[in-house]
Symmetry: C2
Subunit: 538 residues, 2 copies
């Protein structure tokens, strides 16, 4: 038996030898080993007390909660997660970098609404009369108007309202009809249009295609609010601040440059892309200054922009975008981190359609002596051998620096090998994948396959404003509870990798990593100290 | 672009180089290429006409069918599948071997009930009064009684019925109360207790733990019907005949030897294991003779038994079973194919608990000069690093010949490598995995990962009487529609592998494979001919 156990131990070690915790596994400190053990014990206890069939959550009134288990559907589990000790610990953990998030979906929907309500230029309208029957199927349309066109209407919901006429946002809210819930009903209506709810994800829209329709509609609703410069700058600031609060020290935000201008304070669509960069940079410096004033400069290393456009445009349109991207890179070399194409891979155009302009883009960079890595979305699909799945081949042949999602990458042994050889990291978005119905819950997510194959993974939130997974704590939580192999030290290594595989330059990266180590040590000490107080994480 | 496409083609070829269709990919005949193309075209057409959002199925009245897609939940899709051209083709395809099926769940539940109704010794009772309210939660209990104990009761449902008293099965059916549907209501009640229905799998029992409770209960209900020798022999015959009708030429049935005896015609529990083998062998020879009489001997190569017991017994009990298995192997060397432990891996004992007796079993075989390969269930779980997942390490360290399920094998790079090196095939049961909630539907099943890693796969039905996936056509169908890479020729190679990795001896295997090739060629010609008639598969 002794020799059997030895052989078994050796086999397990070989099998897990490519995992991030084995590769980087420097000798763990005593404190790290203790913290890891503490977290495993809490996870095991909560697997029964919180997620077991006899738990409080299971006996709750809501039907959807009848099936509780660790890593269950996020939208149903969210409130329960918030009450766990494990989540309290993870929310204090330094997360490293957020490498995959679409800027337009990074700020809490209620905060966005609050920001919008501060702007007299913003108006709202509906295409139909709002009634108790129609409200769930009727989306609010927003727009910033020039002062000359400000509307004198005061209600969106009185009988006299003529569909498609603009009402000032604040008035529409103030006078939202009592029968629809008054101002609070207004907020819920708007937030409902900006987010995916459980009955959509797990009921009415329970396929990747259907949930993508709802998902896309949230961007259509939020776009005119966010792409209004006075809101946008505050929105970016909120994104930075809330990320910092969750322990994210650096981010690379994907920004959609599909429209050529955003709306300015004057209600005209006249703010070109370069101004977006100027504004982003200004907010970045303001936040850095503020963190410094608070003595917290170690918590924020910075943020860069990944230029993105939609994967439904023509090659000619793409060429324009790529030239635009080149000139922005020349003007803002430290701010522009990479290029990507976004949108629903299963229904839009595959990368193979764009090879010629994309190759030309690489040539142009050489001519100009600049470097804009591709950071492509690829394989965000359940397809096996479909165009969306095949995007992985093209992303890799085009030398993508990282892969966005790569959900179907686990099907491709040679591509995983190349990812290891060429150090291509995968931006895995667990909660996004689950809500967008690529996986029914975390235990069925292919993440462990990737990790055990030695493919570098950075956990990401993707569109937290739509999903409700603000920060990275929720995604780290869902990953941690769905595996017995992964522990706190594994999450720490993944956080380090998010910095290592970022677009920070060498010097920035070294700094970011050394700051991370300081915070990590403090965090580990805190976990151990809280537990030894017999009072972990309370 | 030319050179890009060349590089891309090469990369795809490398990536898919370990697939069964690449490895065995002898040059395909013209007919095979045509048949493969025909099937791909039908699949593409039906992906829209049958499984598209605008299809008939989608517009059907039943809510559950609102989400239709290729590879969707089997229990909801079953009727729709039966109407497809693709299914008609696959039902004619020669399947090779069925390597993973639990004998007690291999015969259509209605057929089992019919067989049972022919036996006056069989009785039924309930623990509660059956009413319209209680019927769905009350299971029938069956038992064969000795003639002296035959019951004179005539109804299970009249007011005078005293719970727990036996009623002759035929009488209970005949006089089943009108308000419960009469005899037809009786049949539906019994069949409902023997099968899993969609509202259980996808509603009330929608987790692996919950559905296993229902699943296990079906065996408790069917056991006394099947383990009655006069039924058992007919049951085995039905298993062989229905398998043959679906194109299965050989099977290895897992038989549960947990109880020491089954009931004989005299209503006594007095038929020992060796008699089971004698009966199995007799039926086998009868069916062979009958096939010969029909000039169809090429369609049936034979069947063997995998000795199984429950993975909840003590080591002492296991030792008894293993000795039992050894003596059966000595008496029936050609009939006993292997040894396995079965039951819910997530809740029962892991293999590591049984290492000592299992190792001793191997030693005993050497002493006796016999060979009984382990063919272990392992990794039938969503766990990552749980005891059930870790069963894979032990199965492999114990030199398992094949792996039953291996659902979590995709997480283990070293173990997949060993499977390739040591030629360990995995018995993948797609529909079983889906109904037992390891995967929400076929597109999320990890099968493509295994296939692309070059792990040999045999598709299996597991417990078709409970799931309704009789034969192998349904499992082949679900796999085929969920991938654009897999084609008809891939399925053919998988069918060949099922014979190659069976426990047939060399000579038997060669024969089975050569008979398969003959039937395969006929099948391919039929596909091509039907299509050229403009009338494929009608």
């Amino acid at each position: 038996m002794e020799s059997y156990l030895q052989k078994r131990h050796q086999l397990i070690r070989e099998d897990r030898g490519r995992r991030v915790d084995a590769i980087h596994g420097k000798k763990l400190s005593d404190a790290e080993q203790r913290a890891d053990r503490i977290v495993r014990d809490i996870r095991a206890a909560e697997a029964i007390s919180v997620w077991g069939p006899e738990s409080q959550a299971a006996s709750g009134a809501e039907n959807a909660l009848l099936h509780v288990f660790p890593g269950m559907e996020f939208l149903t589990a969210r409130e329960t997660i918030l009450g766990t000790q494990l989540f309290k610990i993870l929310s204090k953990m330094p997360k490293g970098a957020l490498l995959h998030a679409h800027l337009d979906a990074t700020v809490n929907a209620r905060v966005l609404l609050r920001l919008a309500l501060g702007q007299p230029a913003l108006h709202v309208r509906t295409h139909e009369h709002l009634t108790a029957n129609s409200i769930n199927d009727t989306l609010p349309q927003f727009q910033a108007l020039p002062e000359a066109q400000f509307s004198a209407l005061t209600s969106l919901t009185d009988d006299a309202y003529i569909p498609d006429s603009w009402v000032p946002l604040q008035k529409a809210r103030e006078n939202f009809h009592e029968s629809l819930g008054g101002p609070e009903g207004f907020d819920n209506w708007v937030v409902g249009a900006l987010m995916i709810n459980p009955s959509q994800a797990y009921g009415t829209h329970n396929t990747t295609y259907k949930i993508w329709k709802k998902f896309a509609s949230t961007f259509i609703v939020s776009n005119p609010l966010i792409r209004f410069a006075p809101v946008w700058t505050q929105y970016v600031r909120e994104f930075f601040m809330s990320s910092i609060e969750d322990g994210i020290s650096y981010s690379e935000a994907r920004i959609m440059f599909w429209s050529e201008c955003m709306f300015g304070a004057d209600g005209q669509e006249n703010i070109p892309h370069r101004e977006w960069f100027v504004m982003y940079n200004r907010v970045l410096n303001e936040v850095k200054d503020e963190m410094k004033r608070q003595g917290r400069e170690d918590e924020f290393v910075g943020s860069k922009i990944i230029y993105t456009t939609m994967r439904n445009i023509t090659c000619e349109e793409l060429e324009w975008c790529l030239e635009d991207c080149l000139s922005l890179k020349q003007e803002f070399p430290h701010l522009l981190a990479g290029f990507d194409l976004v949108g629903h891979e299963d229904s839009l155009r595959p990368l193979i359609d764009y090879i010629v302009p994309l190759k030309k883009f690489v040539e142009r960079q050489k001519e100009l002596g600049i470097d804009i890595p591709f950071i492509f979305h690829a394989g965000e699909t359940l397809g096996d051998g479909t165009a969306a799945d095949m995007n992985l081949y093209d992303a890799i042949l085009l030398d993508t620096k990282r892969i966005g999602h790569g959900f179907s990458l686990v099907k491709h042994p040679r591509l995983m090998e190349i990812c290891r050889e060429k150090k291509i990291a995968v931006e895995v978005c667990p909660i996004s994948n689950e809500i967008l119905r690529l996986t029914s819950s975390m235990p069925t997510h292919p993440l462990p396959v990737l990790m055990n194959q030695g493919v570098t993974v950075a956990l990401c939130s993707d569109d937290p404003a739509v999903f409700g997974n603000m920060g990275l704590s929720f995604d780290f939580f869902q990953v941690l509870v769905a595996s017995e192999v992964t522990g706190l030290t594994t999450l720490g290594e993944m956080a380090r990798d998010s910095l290592r595989y970022s677009c920070l330059d060498t010097q920035e990266r070294e700094l970011a990593l050394s700051l991370f180590e300081k915070r990590w040590a403090t965090f580990i000490d805190w976990v151990v100290r809280e537990e030894s107080k017999g009072n972990a994480a309370n």
